[in-house]
Each structure stands twice: as structure tokens, then as C-alpha cells.
């Protein structure tokens, strides 16, 4: 298989094309625009069979996606940052109604002040919306995660966000190995919706009023099914790996086995961290990376198993919680590691697309090593901000 030179957006759009959903409803927003641009061209050129609904806002995009999915269609959409924020109300409704759609998220900082570059504040804000979330390190993963997400969403009937870093991944060209169209078609298979509205012989009601005597039970069920999705992820990932010969895991353990100092991160920063780790390993440093690929449902057991033998762990958070104790990844990792002896610190970094480079990651490892002799004074630090 010869790799093709594609941006992350083009890679994701190829996944859309090969899945060929019945309905795509989307509104353009930087840096998601090139995903929809490429998909619109496939649509205009007759390379896909599904409908493309060009709506007037993201609120309408998600509403159209909900309607189409409830009707029984296989549905995809994509957005970023403020677009996701405008969808907010309907994002929760999609997951609550158990509509298995996939949404590409090209991670971008939320306004204000207005900024179009990468951080994870948009999708982290939606972490409790009842959607699954998977994060891509590079263009190849943006492509593979999106195909996988469609399968997992339809198996669990829980919608899934397939996230990649805005510009860093979405607008950068890398070699991407695309699967054959037929192979993806075979993998994805036919969509068999559960109780679709268009099944007129079996009329049902979706989205009814649900007050104090039923809402709590429905939420409890939603919570349990999200928890059970951890096992479905495992089974589906195994199936994916066997089918395509590519790994698919909740977390990637990069040289963590004997590592004393481990960095935990999401998305493109992991690529940079791996390079630093390779260099430090040559110097005899026992360092490693735990890449979180699946963030929702949160793979706490896998994380605990990967980190429990480390001495010091640094979590890199590309979003802020404003008044919380550290970033969203940090608080969950600390909770997963509660009552172990591992010391964990947090670094908020890269907000609004601020660069994270190899020197900065090396500095984090140096600081982790320094805690062997020095007391940890600050558990939450800011990396790369001007003091």
C-alpha cells in the first residue's frame, strides 16, 4: 500500500467518503472547513451517494443530524470550537436519544478573545455530554479513528466525536495509508437502526417529555451503557485490528514498561513527546509516554495499569478548567490513580495554539526528575506562557 500525501482534514474526509453515510449535515468553521470542503467536492462529483444538508448554523447541523438519525439514517457531521458551542443543546439530545452518529472535531480554542488555533477547550467542554471521544495523534489516526468511531457508535448506539488537533494535524500534510474502499465498506456494513421513526409499521415515540418520574432512570441507563461501552470498545478494537491489521487501543503505552517518569497527553503532542523520549532514552533516562486515545468512556483501569509502576507522572492538559484543580485530563488521571504511590503533576499548555516543542517536553521530564530530591511545590503549572 502506497501512502498518499494528505492533510488531516483530507484524511478525515476520506473516511467520510468511504463510510458514505446517508446524511451529512454540517456548517463550515475554521479549522474544520477543509473537511467539509473536501466532502462537499466528493458529493458534487458524485463520489458519494448520501445527502449533504447545508444548514444555516451548527445548531441546525446537529438538529438535522438528530432528525436524520432518529429516522434511521447513518449520519455524520463535523465542527470545531464555537461551532460545537452553538450545537451544545442538541449535542446532549443526540446522546440522550441514543443516536449513533459520528462528529469530526477539529480541536480549536473557544473564544474569547477570538482565536482559531488548537487547544482542547471545545471537546473537553463536551466531555460530560454523553458522547464518546477519541483523539488522533496524527493524520493516519484521524482517518482510522473516524472509521472505527462509526462502527463503535452504531454498536453501542452512543454518538462519538473523532478529534484531531486544529491546524497542527488538520492542515499539515503527512503520508496516509488509506484502506481500499471495498474493505471499508465491508467493515462498516449495513446500518441497522434500532426502532427508526421511518419504520411506519412499528410506530414509536422518540424524545418525549420525561419528568421527575422517569428522567433519572433514563440517565442511569445512559450512564450504565456508557460504562459498558468500555468492553464494547475492546471487542470492536480487536475486530478492527484483525480486519485492517492496525492497532486500536484505549491508550498507547510508549516505552512506559520500565519508565520512572511518564508524560500523559492527548493528540499531536504525543508525536513530539515520543521524539523527546527516544532522545532521552539514548541518554539512559527511563522516560515514557502514555497516550490517551479514548477519553470517553474514560479507560481508568488501563491508565492505572500503565502508570502504577512510575515514580512521577506529568499530565499535559491543552485546556483550562478555571478554578478547578488542574486540567480535565489531570483531575481524571489523579482520580484513577488514587491510593497508589505515584506522584502526579499537571501542566496546562498550548492554549490558543501556543507552540509545544521538544525543549518544553524535555523540561517537563527534567522537572519530574528533580522531584526525586526536591519537594513538589506546585501541582498545577503553566507551560509555555510568558511570565
Amino acid at each position: 500500500m502506497k501512502p498518499k500525501a494528505l492533510t488531516g482534514s483530507e484524511a478525515m474526509a476520506n473516511a467520510f467518503k468511504q463510510i458514505d453515510p446517508d446524511v451529512v449535515a454540517a456548517y463550515p468553521i475554521t479549522p474544520q472547513t477543509p473537511v467539509m470542503h473536501a466532502y462537499s467536492k466528493y458529493h458534487a462529483d458524485g463520489e458519494v451517494t448520501g445527502d449533504l444538508i447545508r444548514v444555516e448554523s451548527e445548531h441546525s447541523a446537529m438538529s438535522a443530524a438528530v432528525g436524520a438519525s432518529a429516522a434511521g439514517a447513518r449520519v455524520m457531521t463535523a465542527t470545531a470550537a464555537n461551532g460545537l458551542a452553538l450545537m451544545w443543546e442538541i449535542v446532549y439530545i443526540a446522546s440522550s436519544m441514543r443516536l449513533p452518529m459520528v462528529m469530526g472535531i477539529v480541536n480549536r480554542a473557544l473564544s474569547g478573545p477570538i482565536n482559531i488555533h488548537c487547544d482542547h477547550s471545545d471537546s473537553m467542554g463536551a466531555r460530560d455530554s454523553g458522547w464518546m471521544q477519541i483523539y488522533a495523534e496524527n493524520n493516519q489516526e484521524a482517518y482510522e479513528n473516524t472509521i472505527f468511531a462509526m462502527k463503535l457508535a452504531e454498536k453501542t448506539r452512543i454518538p462519538m466525536m473523532s478529534c484531531m488537533d486544529g491546524f497542527i494535524t488538520s492542515h499539515s500534510v503527512e503520508g496516509v495509508n488509506l484502506f481500499d474502499d471495498d474493505k471499508v465498506k465491508e467493515y462498516i456494513g449495513e446500518h441497522r437502526p434500532r426502532y427508526p421513526l421511518l419504520d411506519v409499521d412499528n410506530p414509536i415515540t422518540q424524545g418525549p417529555l420525561d419528568l421527575f418520574d422517569y428522567y433519572f432512570e433514563h440517565k442511569r441507563r445512559q450512564s450504565e451503557d456508557m460504562f459498558q461501552a468500555k468492553q464494547v470498545f475492546k471487542d470492536t478494537a480487536k475486530e478492527f485490528s484483525e480486519f485492517f491489521g492496525k492497532p486500536m487501543e484505549e491508550v498507547e503505552k510508549y516505552k512506559t514498561e520500565d519508565a520512572e517518569y511518564i508524560i500523559v497527553a492527548l493528540s499531536s503532542t504525543c508525536g513530539t513527546a515520543k521524539e523527546v523520549i527516544d532522545n532521552l532514552r539514548e541518554k539512559g533516562k527511563k522516560v515514557g509516554l502514555l497516550k490517551i486515545r479514548l477519553f470517553r468512556p474514560f479507560p481508568s483501569n488501563e491508565i492505572r495499569e500503565a502508570l502504577q509502576d512510575a515514580r512521577f507522572v506529568a499530565v499535559l492538559d491543552r485546556s483550562e478548567t478555571f478554578g478547578g484543580f488542574g486540567g480535565p485530563l489531570f483531575t481524571e488521571i489523579r482520580s484513577a490513580m488514587y491510593d497508589t504511590n505515584v506522584k502526579i503533576v499537571d501542566y496546562i499548555y498550548g492554549l490558543g495554539g501556543r507552540e509545544i516543542n521538544m525543549q518544553m517536553i524535555e523540561q517537563v521530564f527534567c522537572e519530574l526528575e528533580s522531584y526525586e530530591t526536591e519537594e513538589i511545590k506546585e501541582y498545577v503549572k503553566y507551560l509555555g506562557v510568558r511570565e
Binding site: S96, R157, Y195, I204, Y214, F216, H218
Partner: protein
């Protein structure tokens, strides 16, 4: 006993069509429509047509009883009645 969370269909879907009959909405009512004894109903059937819940019974082309199981007490029947034969009375009077 209402079903526990394990027994409910996911996503709040309701699978049995026409189940709204099981949900008696009459207990929302604050005011109850009552026929006035001193006014003769002309059986024009306006109340029967206008009632959003179908609570006015019709028999042999004439208005019959007002059925209260689903009557929310909206008062449309009293408002629409041309001879003002229906009065809305405070529910507390019937306790």
C-alpha cells in the same frame, strides 16, 4: 410500581403506540367544567368539537357527560359555549 432503569428502553423511547391513554392528565386540573343547572344546553356540540382532549361525550347526536380523566381544566368548553352553560369551578370544591 413504575419500572426500574434496567427495564426501560434506552433513550426514553416509547415503543407502544397510543400509550398516552395510560397517562391520565386529569390530575393537572385546577378548574373543573361543570354544567349549570339553570341554563339549558342547546346541544350545538361546540364543546365537543373544541375540547382538545376529547373529554365531551356524545350520544345520539347530543352532548352527554363530561369525562374528567383527561380534562386538564383548560376552560375552552366554557369559553366557547354560546349559551354559557358550562362553568369552571375550583377543584377544591370537590375535595
Amino acid at each position: 410500581m413504575k419500572p426500574g432503569w434496567r427495564e426501560l428502553e434506552e433513550g426514553g423511547k416509547i415503543l407502544n403506540a397510543g400509550n398516552s391513554a395510560e397517562h391520565k392528565t386529569g390530575d393537572w386540573r385546577t378548574f373543573r367544567p361543570v354544567l349549570k343547572e339553570e341554563v339549558n344546553c342547546t346541544h350545538c356540540m361546540f364543546c365537543w368539537i373544541y375540547c382538545p382532549e376529547g373529554c365531551i361525550e356524545a350520544k345520539d347526536g347530543k352532548r352527554a357527560d363530561i369525562l374528567l380523566d383527561y380534562c386538564k381544566g383548560c376552560g375552552i368548553c366554557a369559553k366557547i359555549c354560546p349559551v354559557k352553560a358550562i362553568e369552571m369551578k375550583d377543584e377544591n370544591e370537590f375535595k
